[in-house]
């Protein structure tokens, strides 16, 4: 998808009468819950994917469930699109406004309604920030496990809509593994609860279906999440390697030996350099790759695992392994990784963060091909990698003020995603499809799957008003994308079965 034209004409063919919509919303909401003036609407035109901009027709910022239902009822009656937004940190344009629609900000739903330390659960409103849950749970020795890098800002509603991940997914799972129950408002004006505080619920697993549905099935009103006891002990190791391939093999060796680290992150040479220049974490800047490995659990277990991990890393080609002597040094090992995105921001005016996932065994080859593609597009790239779960974040460096560079970055990014699909992976591990990767959905899925996606969408949202034009491409869009793609000769391996 291109930043210039995020929406397909199919997705903007609603017959919306703005004056009537605004009049009806004014009658249903207090004055301060509506943003109508263009200058003020500007503040909402982008989410975390700032290259994409779209002014909404109107912004609603309800304060109560009744008001949310009222907005949805009006939208349903008048046939108006609705885009729900939490903190607006989506990296895929999932919360990009619709030109004919209401941007429904859930920002005022920011209360923790219940925190039960005995049962280890919290019931929260959708606008509550991810980190705020862990902060509230901390006095009880508990935390909420999924930790997307935007956790200071991103909301739990958005986390559920995108099935957000983080650096601890291999051991502690994604959002879908840590949410027990979700209350949704449907576009048809009903409130429905899916999931259960029990470990299962009768009927179909609608809770799983809601996760990662990118706001297209319902508007989240409330979520009950599971809390975990803070691990008693943590240990962090930092290993350096002369090639990314060797580092990848070392990861495979750890997993094969039965180690399930709490976190296992890789950075390539350019990422190490950028991070070191930025935060001075003491990284070995001459290494081709580093691995950061976090182990957690009871003291005995962590001690035993640390010894095994150190030995395995050395045995599999690490030229140096450092074991953090204390929590402070462990935090320093992490500092560079956690600052990798802003560090990329220092070495180029703009960067474009990709989110493909690959089976780990292809890592060496994929990194080589990404470097080759970067040369072809004339753009630099730094790679950070959730090595435990195969989720790769190449950061494509570009300068949006130079004519043509954004287009080159988009074309380069699209090729990376196609490479991930070719290697048996996926176009998005944790950032979602949104508008950004909607064309690549035509490569990952065939017509039959997309027909089923639309059928599922229709189950929850018969008039198709919730976040239209995101995540699931129409037949027309895929036909046009396919034609364009073949013309440019970029569709690699046309003989492969695409799904």
């Amino acid at each position: 998808m291109s930043a210039q034209h995020p929406y397909h004409t199919d997705d903007t063919a609603f017959a919306v009468r703005a004056p009537e919509l605004i009049e009806r919303l004014r009658a249903a909401l207090p004055e301060h819950a509506l943003v109508i003036e263009e200058a003020e609407r500007r503040a909402y035109e982008s989410d975390g994917l700032s290259a994409f901009r779209q002014l909404p027709l109107v912004v609603a910022i309800p304060e109560s469930e009744d008001q949310v239902q009222a907005v949805l009822a009006i939208a349903h009656e008048l046939g108006v699109p609705v885009v729900a937004r939490g903190s607006g940190t989506s990296l895929s344009g999932g919360a990009l406004p619709h030109p004919q629609g209401v941007l429904l900000s859930m920002a005022r739903f920011n209360r923790i309604l219940e925190l039960d330390p005995e049962r280890r659960l919290a019931r929260v409103q959708p606008g509550v920030r991810n980190l705020a849950i862990s902060e509230a749970a901390a006095p009880h020795g508990l935390y909420y496990a999924p930790d997307p890098s935007s956790q200071i800002a991103c909301s739990i509603g958005g986390n559920i809509a995108e099935n957000a991940g983080g650096v601890h997914c291999l051991k502690y799972g994604l959002t879908v593994h840590n949410v027990l129950e979700v209350k949704l408002a449907t576009i048809e004006g009903e409130i429905v609860t899916v999931g259960s505080r029990a470990l299962d619920a009768p009927g179909y697993d609608l809770l799983a279906l809601v996760h990662g549905s990118e706001g297209m099935l319902g508007v989240i009103l409330e979520a009950t999440v599971r809390l975990l006891p803070e691990p008693l002990t943590k240990q962090v190791l930092l290993a350096s390697f002369d090639s990314a391939g060797t580092a990848g093999d070392a990861v495979a060796a750890l997993i094969a030996a039965g180690i399930v680290p709490a976190g296992l992150e890789m950075m390539d040479g350019p990422a190490i350099q950028a991070a070191e220049d930025f935060v001075h974490a003491g990284y070995p800047v001459d290494a081709a790759a580093i691995l950061i490995c976090e182990l957690d659990g009871g003291a005995e277990e962590v001690r035993a695992d640390t010894q095994r991990v150190e030995a395995l890393l050395r045995e599999h080609g690490a030229r140096e392994v450092r074991i953090a002597r204390d929590a402070e040094e462990g935090a320093r090992f992490w500092a560079g990784r956690k600052a990798a995105f802003p560090a990329a921001g220092r070495i180029a005016p703009d960067y474009y963060c990709m989110d493909g996932t690959i089976p780990r065994r292809h890592l060496g080859e994929v990194l080589t091909r990404i470097a080759d593609m970067g040369r072809e597009h004339g753009l630099g790239v730094v790679n950070v990698f959730h090595a435990g779960d195969g989720n790769l974040h190449p950061l494509i460096l570009y300068d949006g003020n130079r004519p043509g560079e954004l287009e080159q970055a988009e074309a380069f990014g699209a090729r990376i995603l196609e490479l991930c699909v070719e290697k048996g992976g996926t176009i998005t591990g944790e950032h979602g499809v949104g508008v950004e990767k909607i064309d690549q959905m035509c490569i990952q899925f065939g017509d039959a799957e997309r027909a089923t996606f639309f059928a599922v969408k229709h189950v929850f949202d018969p008039p198709g008003l919730l976040n239209p034009g995101k995540a699931i491409p129409t037949l027309n869009r895929c036909a046009e994308f396919g034609a364009m793609h073949v013309h440019q000769g970029q569709l690699s391996h046309p003989e492969l079965e695409r799904f």
Binding site: E300, D389, V459
Partner: protein, 355 residues
Amino acid sequence: MTSDADHSRELAERVRAAAAAGTPLALRGGGTKDFYGHPVAGEPLDIRPHRGVLSYEPTELMLTARAGTPLEELETLLADNGQMLAFEPPRVAPGGTLGGAIAAGLSGPRRPFTGAVRDHVLGVRIVDGNGAIERFGGEVIKNVAGYDLSRLTVGALGTLGAVLDVSLKVLPRPEAERSLCLELAPGELFARVERALRDGAPVTGAAHDGERAWLRLSGAASAVDAGARTLGGDTPLDDSFWGRLRDHALTFLADEAGPLWRISLPPGSAPPELPGPAMVDWAGQLFWLRTEATAAQVRAAAAAAGGHATLFRGGDGTTPVFTPLEPVVARLHRRLKRALDPAGVLNRGRLYPDF
């Protein structure tokens, strides 16, 4: 032993023909869980010939196999590589298949500690009710492209599609494992396990057989030893308990006379106040009950605690097996069924009688 073979096309063709003719199909793997759910009238569609492991990468913690593959075969393969299915699917009788485990969606004693069946499903290939073969999810742990149809098939009892292939996240087998028996009441189990977990004990099973509590510790040998020292209790001579609990081979669960209720409850719930003997699993979140109480009484007690009750086996044929759904949720279910199986030919009525 039958040989591995790909029967996707034949299975899809059978479903297509059935949809065209409006002939209901009864999907069947090993038939080991025929008792579960409502009986289905339909032409049998045997999935077992579609069997075999398609890919297994121990270092990726990932396995893909065809639905007809026997669970025993998968677990042997995994054990040979020091790995396991951490959701511990019950093998209630020999011959159960992977597809059956996915369709039933039943998880074993590890459930509260390492997750359910659905938590380990990475992707599926299915035949939908139109006879179309579709693939959702994939072979990687993180994947948010498209709606999560793979997890939706788990526990759907074959009503949304015939599962062809499944990709699963597998986990390393623990280095050491030990069982402990403690003298405490069923109602005390949850709090005791919580304390142990917060003390860092690697608990992976917590049950009560009506007389005493059973705890299982798994992990690094040193951690298991440390946990066992903290917890105290006796080490039983025979720890086949966990396998028999998982496979419903304990007499209490296996007895086919009379109804057996499965009651799933929120963490820390008091045992439901219902007459009759009970067994407890999942650190107090799963109750198995033999009772003279009516279905309405059992369901009311479960609902009052925030849970739900399933007439797991021994039903009278008229009592709904699964807790009736709220009207809005029920409507979404019927629509989903229509979306994936418009002709209503796949295991019609097995989950809920009206679809």
